[in-house]
Symmetry: C2
Subunit: 244 residues, 2 copies
DNA sequence: ATCGGGGCTTGATACTTGTCAAGTTCCGCG
DNA sequence: CGCGGAACTTGACAAGTATCAAGCCCCGAT
């Protein structure tokens, strides 16, 4: 029954969307009723590539949930721009700004055609005030995000470009079940910016990893001997383990 | 009455400590009873300078509150080390690790002789589960911390050494009520590490700021014309406003 | 199939930042 | 009071990284 009501009220939303959002750690533990109240005002929209969903400095109107496609979080200053992170389905972004009712610190744009659920920030804050399970889920999510940025900051401050790239490749390698070959999840130019270097520099960094068994063909990366690469990368869970 | 009980149970703690902790945003909104339960197992300890209070990778046993002195949060990798942030009274640190029951991502050491309150992590998590006001205060605190690290990451990725230093000095200038002279809050070597550069480089960066009216004598900094310096620094609330 | 554009690579070069070594200053301690 | 050590500064040099320019390659549009 709830499903029918849900779909009636949320133009464009499929019941699979509903289930996927519900399954997120952020929403998993709360009761059906508050979840219904939270998502009542939400709606789904499909955006073409390269659409700026939010702009840093602006006020937080919606909590965003990526259902399909991918979204880039980036920031600019003084004519420069850098990729802060990539968001893949299914996950939320800019939760902190929404909860604090503060301006966005980062902008967001679609990379490819993407389906995004928009939940009014006011509703998020209202349910947050009322529902204790949701409030605790928000804590878990924020703590996770916080630790993620801390790791990223350590990566930036303690490693040089080649080391950052080597560790990134090892993380992706593991993410893909340790298979020797995998696809990069984003364009190289974006990856370069994410890792804090120029595209030219990353191209050279990739070459520098050849002696360690890394070969690249387009988006396809092959890691011949992960241990060899790890000898250079020296990964540590305190920076590189996303679960930690 | 509560005060007397409190002091009886917490060796070394003064009633002023009690009030200062209670006044923190993290503890301000919760009821007297849960606060009492939360701090019941806590105690105060005074540490000499350069004592390592926590080590990254270790398990979170206590939530720490700095009452006097100052504490440096730092991280290491592969023989390198960097200062992540400084904690001044009265504030807590490593809340995220405590709540998540996860390993510390950063180490902490006293810089000067410091009084620190230690609250068992188990108690923090227990009260967090039970007390909804506290849970929401934790959200506010974590969101604040998260946004702080994001700003710091933007600072690192978007600005070069001189720009980071210029903006840091402007922030301190503002913090001190806009007076032309103020004292650096930490040693230069630590500040250099915090700002992501070597001490040698910071020495040169300070010289590079002389044409913009910055003069330095020991810990004493004079900013002759903040607007002039801001012309170079181009501060933005999205990186430099701690409240934002 | 051809054209055009954007992403990627490469080389040359310049700028930024780090390293090393030496010297100075400052401060605490005997 | 003077000694010792650490912090800081300075210069010379090396390493890391960015910029600029050119060419290649892939892919989508005509």
């Amino acid at each position: 029954m709830i499903l029918v009501k849900f779909r009636d009220r949320h133009p464009g939303m499929r019941s699979t969307d509903f289930h996927e959002i519900r399954a997120l750690p952020l929403f998993r533990e709360m009761g059906a009723e508050p979840f219904e109240a939270l998502t009542r005002g939400g709606y789904v929209q499909t955006f073409p590539p390269q659409v700026e969903l939010i702009t840093e400095g602006e006020h937080s109107d919606f909590l965003h949930v990526v259902i399909e496609g991918s979204v880039e979080l980036f920031a600019g200053w003084n004519g420069r721009e850098t990729t802060m992170s990539m968001v893949y389905p299914v996950s939320t972004f800019i939760l902190a700004a929404t909860i604090k009712d503060a301006p966005y610190l980062m902008s967001a744009r679609t990379v490819e055609r993407s389906r995004v659920v928009l939940i009014p920030s006011e509703d998020v804050r209202r349910i947050f005030e009322v529902d204790n399970d949701f409030a605790r889920a928000v804590v878990a999510e924020l703590a996770q995000c916080y630790r993620g940025v801390v790791k990223s900051a350590k990566d930036m401050k303690l490693r040089n470009a080649v080391e950052r790239l080597a560790n990134y490749l090892l993380r992706q390698h593991l993410r893909n079940g340790g298979r020797p070959e995998f696809e990069l999840r984003m364009e190289k130019r974006r990856l370069a910016s994410f890792l804090g270097m120029t595209p030219e520099n990353m191209s050279r960094a990739l070459k520098a990893l050849q002696p360690y068994g890394v070969t690249v063909d387009g988006q396809r990366v092959r890691i011949a001997d992960a241990d060899d690469l790890a000898g250079l990368a020296k990964p540590t869970p305190l920076i590189d383990d996303p679960e930690h």
